[in-house]
Structure formats: C-alpha cells, structure tokens
C-alpha cells in the first residue's frame, strides 16, 4: 500500500524547510499616506490586515509614524521611523518534529514541582445586585413636575432594567435594556407622593424610595437663589451644588446637574464627591447650614 519511496519521502519531510505563514499588517497610526510599501518595482499603499510578501520594504516617512506587523509566530513587531526602511524577511521554517518532541518533553518536565499549577478564578458572575449611586436607602426628595429621571448605579451585570413605579407597585416608566451604569428614564409627570425606583440585573436588583415634593419644600436658601436674576444654567448650577450638600436632596441635585449639563458636578456626584454636610442634615431640611459657610458651594 505504501511504498518504500513514499515512506522515505515522508521521513525526509521531517527535515525539509517549507515556507510557513506570512507577515501581515495589524495596525498603523494616522493616515495611510504616511507609509510606503515597495514591492518589486512598484509602490503599493498600505492597508490594515494586508499580507506582506518576502522582500517588501516598508518605509515610514513621518517621525511619529508607526506600523504594527505580525509574523508567522503571532509575534507583534512595532515599526517606527527608526526601523525604516524595514524589509520583510524570509518566513521562518515551520514547526518541526524534533522541536515538538523537545517541547513535549519540556512541558512534561515543567509540570513537575512548583510549575505544575496555574491560576484560575473560582467566581460566579451572576447574581450581583446593582447598587444605586447618589440615591440612598433613606428618603430621596425630588421636585414635582414633568421630569426625565437620570439614574446611576454600580455593580451588577448588563443588561439592566430600570423602572419607576408608584408606591403601590404600578409601573410608570421603564428602560428595559440598559447598558453601562447610567440611564435616563423617559419624561414622566410626577405629582406629590411616594414612588419607587428600581434597577435590576436579571433576578438581582435594588430599590430606593423617591418622595416627590413641591418647590416649597426646597431649602430656604435654594428658594432665594431661584429668585435671583441669573442665566438659567448658572442659577440651577448653584441650586444643584447647594442641594448636593444634603443627603435627601442629592438625587435632585443629580437631576439638575444632568439636565443643565453641569458635567463636572454630575461627575463629582457620581464619584461620591459631595460637599461636606452638617450633622443632622439628613434628618431635617431645616437643619440647613449657612450657605456662606460652604466655600465648596460657591465654587464653579
């Protein structure tokens, strides 16, 4: 069935060097016009994922230019103007039997003693409940009216489901598939009363209470600021900053910061960077500190 010559030819193959794979372009920086590839007597333009041939010359004209190429061993080579011109070399010889045997013996030997272990993570990804940022487990006050509610949380696994419900559990608005760690619920008309805000990741979720109140419940200083004749963004920026000093009003501060595009304040709130609050301010709105004593509130 198998002749001696064929058998001998097969054995010869063990030592024959055969062209193995090729180089290819993984990435390059900026515009393709910064690079030239000379192939024989012609210049071809560089393209991402293009195969390179032996003898191709890559020329990088710009000092900040950079080309990443991959060789047949899956090794990444980063070329800059310092390496230019780079001539694509002959492909290395393919894997050979003796190398495989040597590697096999080495891997067997290396599994003895200290090198016989590798690190793995015994962790379940599911079931982690997302937790609200800014809104707390106590009372969270929100002004009444037509509101588009901005929600932020941490933890849990996408996709998330964010819902606003009445106190009796009736669904008002929902974002069924939320990604990332923030979402904006569609605008909804909120009257005075109690509501529930829920974020869920699969079966795991968190709920906080929202208390919708009228403007009369705002701290007196906040009400005074709102009577000032200032551009709207500056006016509400000050109000938001003031409210962020009170645990109960921080969720409202987040809404104002997001609505009026006060990005720094919003980021501070999401990062938990609040102005210092006076003791007891969580329990009572009337325990409002003196506005003048809060330099943080005057910033920005």
């Amino acid at each position: 069935m198998i002749g001696f010559r064929t058998f001998a030819a097969g054995l010869l193959l063990l030592t024959t060097t055969v062209a193995n794979g090729s180089f290819w372009v993984s990435e390059f920086r900026d515009s393709a016009s910064q690079y030239r590839i000379v192939r024989g007597n012609e210049t071809v333009s560089i393209q991402q994922l293009m195969l390179l041939k032996t003898g191709d010359t890559i020329i990088i004209d710009e000092p900040q230019g950079q080309v990443v190429i991959v060789n047949e061993r899956n090794e990444y080579l980063r070329l800059t103007s310092d390496n230019s011109p780079f001539v694509v070399p002959e492909s290395e010889s393919p894997p050979q039997l003796l190398v495989n045997v040597r590697n096999w013996v080495a891997s067997w030997w290396n599994t003895r003693g200290n090198q016989s272990t590798s690190t793995m993570a015994a962790v379940s990804k599911g079931g982690l409940a997302p937790r609200f940022s800014v809104a707390g487990s106590g009372q969270n006050l929100l002004l009444s009216g037509a509101r588009e509610i901005r929600v932020a949380w941490s933890g849990g696994i996408e996709p998330f489901e964010v819902s606003l419900l009445t106190d009796s559990g009736e669904l008002l608005v929902q974002q069924a598939v939320a990604t990332g760690n923030t979402a904006s619920l569609p605008e909804v008309l909120l009257q005075k009363g109690q509501f529930q805000l829920r974020v869920a990741a699969g079966d795991a979720g968190s709920t906080v209470d929202l208390t919708v109140v009228d403007r009369e419940k705002l701290p007196a200083v906040a009400a005074e600021i709102m009577n000032l004749d200032l551009p709207e963004q500056i006016l509400y920026g000050h109000v938001a900053m003031l409210l962020s000093a009170y645990g109960q009003w921080r969720f409202e501060a987040l809404q104002l910061a997001h609505h009026y595009n006060l990005m720094q304040l919003e980021l501070d709130l999401l990062a938990g960077d609040f102005p210092e609050s006076a003791p007891g301010d969580v329990d009572s709105i009337s325990a409002m500190p003196d506005f003048a004593e809060r330099p943080e509130a005057n910033d920005d």
């Binding site: 198998i2 055969v18 193995n20 393709a32 195969l51 894997p95 039997l97 495989n100 996408e158 996709p159």
Partner: protein
C-alpha cells in the same frame, strides 16, 4: 492477542489515548499534516474576540450583535471560502435594533454568491440521566426564515471523563425543538460537505439533515432511545471513528491558521484588506476569559472555535480515524508475536522485553507516525504493554519453577 481481547477495557483505552495524544502532540503544526489526506487542506482564519476586543467593547454580557454583523460582513465581502459563527445566538442581545439588523442581514444573506454561513445551535445541558443534551435552546432567529446559504449546526463534542480532555465528536445529534425531534449535524460535517463541493457522498447526505423533522418529541422514552443511540455522554472509546485529529494548536505557530483580533476589524478607521480572509475558512469565535469557552485538548488548551477548526480539518482531510485493514493488522500482529517469541526464547526476560520493546519502537512507531497523516491509527502502546505483561508472566512462571530446580540440584549434590 489476549490483551487485544480486552482492548475496550478502561485502562487499555487510557493507554491508547495517551499514545494517540502523544502522536498529535508530535505532529501539531507540522506541514506534513497539511500535505496529506483526501482533499487539499483548507486554510483557516480565526476572527478572535480576545480579551483586548472584549475590553474595547466595554466588557458586554452578550457579544454585541452589531459587532458580530461587522465581522460576518467583513468575511463575506472578503470572499471567504466558508464562514462559521461559533457564538451562541439563542438569546437576544443588549440592543433590540442590533438584533433586528443582524436578523434582517441573515434573511437576505447569500443572494450575491456569498460564502456559506454556519450558525451554531446550542442545547440545554439538562440533568444527568434525564434527557441530557436533548432540548435545543430556541433562538431569537427561529422566527425568521433564513436562506439556503445559512446552515444550522451543533458544536457538541465529547469530553473524556477521567481527564476532562475533548477527544471525540458528535457527528450528528438528535434534539427537541418546539416539540419536534430534529437531527442536527455537526459543524464539521456540514463544513466538510460544503468544502468538498459534493465529492464526499457519505458526508453530503447529512448536509441537509437539519431540516428533517422526525416525530413528536413528547415521548421521553422514545427520545432517550434515539438520543442515546451511539451518543453516550460517557465515552467508551469503542468509536475510533469519532476521534478528532488535532493539528492546529492555539498560540503556537501553525502554517494553516491566522488569528486576527476582532477589534482590529470592528473598531478600525482604516480601509481593510481582505487578504486574510479571501478563500479561507473563517471562524468567528471568542477566547476572552469570561466567554468560558476554553477547553482542554490533547495538544493543550484552546478556544471552542479552534476545536471546530481542528474538527473541520480532521474530517475533511483525514476523514474518520480508522485502523489498518484486517489483513495488515494480522501481518503486524504475527510479526510482533514472532519477534516476541524469538526474543523471549533467546534471552532472559528483561533483555527480551528490552529487545522486543526496541523493535516495537523502531518498527511500529514510525509506521504509526507515517500513517497518521492519512487518518490511519496503528496502536503501538498496547503491544508495548503486552511485552511488559509477557515479561511479568514469564517471571512468575520462573519463580514457580525455581524451587523445584534448586531442589533437584540439591538432591543431586550427594551423588
């Protein structure tokens, strides 16, 4: 020959597994494993959702459907020879619009000579012993009518229980979907049929079986009978033909594989070349750690997508692994028996086993090595074991007869 009678026993199977695993380890990535076989070996490109891509995409819980769409489009426009999508599409993704766009693209797929596209069906693993791997997970794509260029296949393989290594495949699998029992061919089976352009008749007949609906799936007993026919989850190793020949390693040089990180395609702002996918078998899969799709194989760990690549190459190039013909086997056996008989009659048992062992290693191992690239398996481990066993028997017999010998000698001394 007596050892041969116990060929299917657990410990002999382990011995043979070790021998074949070692043969694959020696042969991995060698050009000789590409240049042999029935058909010209296909070249593979692995569009790999690696850890960098996963992080670039914001570590999503599901592989984003818009990214999948961009990868398929890239392979299609690059005129790949075949595309395999080794990503579970059972559940809808994170964005309903992206789901819809992917579904719409697939329903229109193949109208302009696009390469065949294979999607994978997944199964509920079930409770051990009760309809295990029977229930097919429905896909959100089921409600769409997919064109003829899109095939459903199953990516199921068999893990050897004692060491957790994937060595065998399921070429076909029965499963229940919407109360109907259907037959789902393996990815490599459909791929081999498509790559052969209809020249492998025994494979081709399975290619369209995914559309065959057999009977009602409600009868548990009937389903388990059909599902278990030659499809045991516990591998008895009796089925040499279900064995994959692994030749394409992961993260080691392989002449027939190029691995391209997926983010280079999905996130690029440059014009892309199609050099790396043109006329190649493109497999889209994941290797990032959270995908939980890294498995043990005889040639090391690798992502499921590369197991499929190995399976496609194994079936297409080598066919099903088979032993030598009966006549050739008897010639080999008789030769070994004669050599063993001669050495054990000529030398002491230790020297005899060394000489006979050297003969097996010097004669049988090269033959086995050479024929391996044609899909033939000549076992050399069991003959070696037989030599050692024979020596143990010979030692035992010698120990039984030695006292009598010494007694005879003692009795002769006075004379």
């Amino acid at each position: 020959m007596i050892v041969g009678l116990f060929h299917q026993s657990h410990w002999l199977v382990r011995l043979e597994n070790t021998a074949m695993d070692t043969m694959m380890e020696f042969n991995k990535g060698l050009p000789r494993m590409i240049e042999a076989g029935a058909g010209s070996s296909p070249q593979f490109t692995f569009l790999d959702i690696d850890d960098t891509s996963f992080r670039d995409w914001g570590e999503p819980f599901h592989v984003p459907r818009d990214k999948i769409l961009s990868l398929i489009k890239f392979a299609e426009q690059g005129k790949a020879r075949l595309i395999v999508l080794d990503i579970d599409l059972s559940r809808e993704g994170m964005d309903a619009t992206d789901d819809r766009l992917l579904a719409e693209y697939l329903t229109r797929y193949g109208k302009e000579h696009a390469p065949p596209l294979i999607l994978v069906r997944t199964f509920y693993s079930g409770v051990s012993g009760e309809r295990q791997w029977v229930e097919i997970r429905p896909s959100y794509l089921d409600e769409f009518k997919l064109p003829a260029a899109v095939y459903w296949a199953q990516p199921l393989f068999k893990v050897t229980l004692w060491d957790g290594v994937i060595r065998h495949w399921h070429l076909v699998k029965f499963g229940c979907l919407d109360g109907q029992l259907i037959l789902v061919p393996a990815t490599q089976l459909i791929a081999a049929a498509l790559l052969s352009d209809g020249h492998i008749s025994s494979v081709n007949q399975y290619a369209n079986m995914n559309s065959i609906r057999l009977e009602n799936c409600a009868d548990d007993e009937r389903v388990s009978q059909i599902g278990d026919a030659g499809e045991d989850s516990y591998v008895t190793e009796a089925e040499l033909g279900q064995r994959l020949i692994y030749t394409i390693p992961w993260r080691s040089p392989a002449p027939d594989l190029i691995t391209v990180p997926a983010h280079l395609i999905s996130e690029t702002t440059h014009e892309l070349s199609y050099d790396l996918v043109q006329d190649r078998v493109v497999i889209i899969g994941a290797s990032f750690a959270d995908s939980r799709d890294i498995h043990r194989t005889p040639i090391g760990e690798m992502p499921g997508a590369l197991i499929i690549a190995n399976a496609i190459k194994s079936l297409f190039v080598y066919g099903q692994v088979r032993p030598l013909s009966a006549g050739a086997l008897w010639v080999v056996k008789l030769t070994l028996i004669l050599v063993a008989a001669w050495t054990f009659s000529r030398f002491t048992s230790l020297i005899a086993v060394c000489v006979a062992g050297a003969f097996v290693i010097g004669f049988l191992v090269p033959i086995s090595f050479y024929l391996f690239k044609f899909g033939y398996w000549v076992d050399f481990a069991i003959p070696l074991f037989a030599m050692v066993l024979h020596r143990a028997v010979a030692e035992y017999r010698a120990s039984r007869t030695r006292p009598n010998d010494s007694g005879d000698r003692q009795s002769e001394l006075p004379a």
